[in-house]
Point group: C2
Chain length 295, copies 2
């Protein structure tokens, strides 16, 4: 994913009185080096991030993503992000997007340069990869053990399971494992057999007319796209709920999707080599909604 624009800034505290939020913001050609090798993002994946979809120059669900950035920062003992400053940074980057088509806006908050004691931050813009095939023809997934029982996140908060940290090597390894098995993506299961999430997406399924997604308490990210879809379904009078979902319930669902900010709603068409039920009309409806300006 080639970057189109990058902006760097020094995060200021929530109660910083300065009115010039843009004071330290600098734009860069994203191919030029702008990160010190001593930055803890590069040294230890020690920071948090968000990826936002953009339609034209409109960034989707900014408030939900900023709220989650703040939540991730709190779980990682990072200074609370000044959201007004992040909104200012976003506003300076989105204007570099093409007027039509889809882009990816990424927010990165690092613990900063080792020893400096101050966080560092970037907002980047890239052209979105073409997700047409995944949205229209669906994706094949394999289930992979995430290694934890579903009750681990609550008793071991130092595992940061609800935070979207820069430490994403395992998520990438799971996708590589899925491709090795001839699939497109993975769905993580807890080691006691419950559906968790995809490495970079949430899982939604329909059973008996009701839409279900795994409960965030199981140490998964609370998906911004999943929440947006649930709110859309609610507005249509459709029933939605958080639940404990087994692999068998996922496989025998009336329809199932992995949903995320960039690829949007990708219908699952195969699980561990077995064909699964799908609903092309609902998929199209979800993606029309997700491509409309939101937030």
């Amino acid at each position: 994913m080639a970057l189109r624009h990058a902006l760097a800034f020094d995060p200021i505290a929530v109660d910083d009185p300065r009115s010039d939020l843009a004071g330290t913001m600098r734009s860069f050609d994203p191919r030029s080096p702008i990160v010190q090798i001593g930055d803890l993002s590069a040294q230890r994946g020690d920071g948090v991030f968000e990826s936002l979809g953009m339609v034209g120059r409109h960034a989707q669900e900014v408030s939900a993503h900023l709220a989650r950035l703040a939540h991730s920062a709190a779980l990682c003992d990072l200074p609370e992000p000044n959201l007004a400053q992040w909104r200012e940074a976003i506003s300076r980057v989105v204007v570099h997007a093409p007027e039509t088509g889809e882009s990816v806006l990424k927010l990165i908050l690092s613990r900063g340069v080792d020893g400096a004691g101050a966080p560092t931050a970037w907002v980047t813009l890239a052209d979105a990869p073409d997700s047409t095939a995944a949205r229209e023809h669906g994706i094949r997934v394999v289930t992979l053990d995430r290694g934890y029982t579903a009750d681990v996140p609550e008793r071991a908060p130092w595992l940061l399971l609800g935070a979207k940290t820069l430490s994403y090597a395992v998520n990438m390894a799971a996708i590589r494992e899925a491709r090795r098995r001839g699939a497109d993506d993975a769905v993580f299961l807890s080691s006691d057999g419950y559906v968790l999430e995809a490495p970079t997406a949430s899982v939604i399924l329909r059973r008996d007319g009701r839409y279900l997604t795994p409960e965030p308490a199981a140490g998964i990210l609370h998906g911004t796209t999943q929440r947006s879809i649930f709110s859309y379904l609610g507005s249509l009078g459709v029933d939605t709920a958080y639940a404990r979902i087994t692999r068998d319930e996922l496989r025998s669902a009336d329809a199932a999707w992995v949903v995320s900010s960039i690829r949007l709603a990708a219908p699952i068409v195969q699980i561990d080599g077995e064909e699964t039920a799908r609903d092309a009309a609902m998929t199209a409806s979800l993606n029309r909604y997700l491509l409309s300006p939101r937030d």
Copy 2:
């Protein structure tokens, strides 16, 4: 840990015929930005690393660290490192260390800039933090659940549990949790109660004259310092072994240490608030050995 020197280079393949291994190596003031924000080290902690201790201008255990770098790279599906090139890079950095005292040499191999399809690499040099207090007076540890049962690593290799990846956010969170509890460091336990490792170190203990360390199959890093100590103990005719070790066995050991390349052998003096047995003479002997030129 302020950096003293940084060298960047483009990793070449193992079978690359070029004789000028240093062709792409560039030295930098480490405070200048030398990493692209699109680099997957900064974006997703997607890469592997090694930290080597240095005594004067001698880097310790270079072969063992390079072997582990290659092992980590293989687990992460990264291109096999050209070790001759890494040795060349190390030789160009170590000359910038002070002639006496301890330094830290760090090797970083990233999957590279997103979309570029080629890895990126750095070798950095920093002054070592002063570890005198930890070596002489010991450290207090708390045990923290790592969330996995001891058999998970074998059945779920995509969790990368034997690889030293740049995704270290959890390791750092565990150390912060230990400090919140009034301790200096953490010791991870498997969720079925076995001792694994410290977030940045290995655990060695002595029971009945025998030195034990947790078996690497339990998804822990095979510690270069632990291996070096076992080889030293072997040369003294002392019995060593890999074993499954419970928390109670650690607590009731004749003596125990967390050992790593930079802090070296730090005796454990307290576990979860309880004082533990120690052996000051052996600690001094281990650290004298670890500070002598090795490899």
